[in-house]
Symmetry: C2
Subunit: 315 residues, 2 copies
DNA sequence: CTGAAAGCGCTTACAG
DNA sequence: CTGAAAGCGCTTACAG
């Protein structure tokens, strides 16, 4: 009888509905030393503006990315806040698991950005596949090398800092190299970030001319700074993320490639996923892998301008 | 007195307004031989769906990309249609100029995609900078080459076919090479597409082992097919666009890099620019250069999946 | 030319 | 439990 394929007008629905959905975001705050998390925050703020007319409000609960306790405190605040949806970066997997379990009970939808947890009922995930990004880095390394050469995989960071992500990048790089670059050898070097900060130039003891390529699984700018001071040229350096420091070294030609994971867009689209789900009852795609964008000095400017302005499809 | 910063609710405005804006699109139709223009059309259709609830309708006027007369006919139809906004690919610059002049008189806003015309009053442009894309191709070529080597720039296509675009790609490649790859020599080869289609394997007379890299300013799959049949390996092949043929050769490893200009997103965002301008009276950024996306076999799948699904920020 | 009323297509509180 | 009425925040045709 009701076979008429009636489609309600969503604009009218929003206006008539007295609902004012409240979203909560749980991501790390950024610091002058680590600006990475500024981008997701900007994505959130941009999305918030765009959907304000639909009655949606967004509240941010920022935690210390090195302090699991801070994460737990903020997540409790969110539960008290009783939001209609949550966007979170599940940096600390144990604490995040406990938190989303409570959200499940309360039937509050939640979206992961940056990294994900397996076997959770998240509405959606926006982020990168770290293993594949490591493979891509190895491919770029392969074409940069001339023949039989040695490269280094350098991990910089605290023990707890995004460990899984970093390891997966390394694993991807290794897997690709072993399969596709048989005549390349590599060594793995680990440096805690505290040590690096104090004595950059001495601690990274790169065996001079033997190394022709470096894959920095994080903080490429620190290695770039080291290479610049040492006056080392001709080392192919591949890293991650368009932070200000990295960009400077990319422009100077010290960093050759940066792989970008579109952190602003991850957060922007995460908010939109919640918005579309809650307000428009739309179906949401669960896994959204961001493309592995390759940035060089040639496409840097277009990329930056584009990424900063695209989100709203207008200025 | 009215210093109160009152912001009208756009959702209510749309509902109350009896306006039903009608958009017209003027782009080439695609054919089995040239599927490129399918992507922009899909972008248009996707955007159309999303904004239907706002009362906007979209009408497509497709022309033959090799026939200026076809362009002119369709543009006349659009003038009779009296749209509230126009999206067009100004493939034929003279005809397009005449058309947009009439739109100016009628005060109908219009947006360029794919390529642009200078000194026109277009609301917006979404496309790529072909010169910079050529530079990027040269950079990729540089890192792929081992030392002193010869590369070829190969242009395939009819005389009239996107000439400006193609030439600019070539010019960008040359400019970068001359400046940054002093020990590389290159030759420029031009093939009309008609000849190619008939005798692919014989006409491209690539001087065997002397060539170690090829920059295909268009139709890379034709060259890839040639290389495959000849059994030539180790030639770095760089081309454009994620067409089905190109993708197949990228996966096989015969094409090494494809530079993508996001044709679907160009059109999608073009429609959104018109929508936001007409319905929401939003300010629109005039020049929107798409990033020069570098696609390899490693990031191909993520890229495809992402691009095909991102537009609506949901599935 | 100004101002109050009707209406956009829905949802929801309320009367029956 | 059902159905008609009121109302979301605007615009616009219409009465004065």
């Amino acid at each position: 009888m009701e076979k008429t394929n009636y489609k309600p007008n969503l604009v009218a629905r929003v206006l008539a509905s007295r609902e004012k959905p409240r979203l909560a975001c749980l991501i790390p705050f950024h610091t002058p030393e680590n600006m990475y998390w500024e981008a997701p925050l900007n994505g959130i703020l941009k999305a918030e503006k765009e959907i304000a007319d639909y009655g949606v409000t967004v509240n941010n609960f920022l935690f210390d990315q090195y302090a699991p306790d801070s994460f737990r405190k903020r997540s409790t605040e969110i539960l008290n806040f009783q939001p209609d949806g949550v966007l979170l970066a599940p940096v600390f997997s144990i604490q995040a698991s406990g938190f989303v379990r409570k959200l499940d009970t309360l039937e509050i939808p939640y979206v992961f950005i940056d990294s994900t947890l397996k076997n959770e009922n998240n509405l959606s995930f926006f982020g990168q596949d770290p293993f594949r990004s490591g493979m891509l880095a190895a491919k770029l390394m392969k074409i940069s090398l001339e023949s039989t050469e040695t490269t280094a995989i350098i991990n910089i960071g605290r023990e707890r800092e995004n460990t899984h992500h970093i390891r997966e990048r390394e694993n991807g790089f290794k897997a690709y190299s072993l399969k596709n670059i048989p005549n390349m050898s590599f060594q793995v070097l680990n440096f805690p970030s505290e040590e690096i900060n104090n004595k950059t130039n001495s601690i990274i003891n790169i065996p001079g001319t033997e190394i022709s390529g470096i894959f920095a699984t994080s903080a490429a700018h620190i290695i770039a700074d080291h290479l610049e001071h040492k006056g080392v040229k001709h080392i192919t350096l591949i890293g991650y993320d368009l932070t200000r420091d990295n960009i400077a070294f990319l422009e100077k030609g010290i960093i050759d490639f940066l792989i970008c994971q579109k952190p602003m867009e991850q957060a922007f689209r995460g908010i939109y996923a919640l918005f579309h789900h809650i307000v428009f009852k739309k179906q949401i795609r669960k896994n959204n892998l961001m493309p592995l964008d390759i940035i060089t000095s040639e496409n840097l400017n277009d990329y930056l301008e584009f990424e900063l302005n695209k989100e709203g499809y207008y200025e």
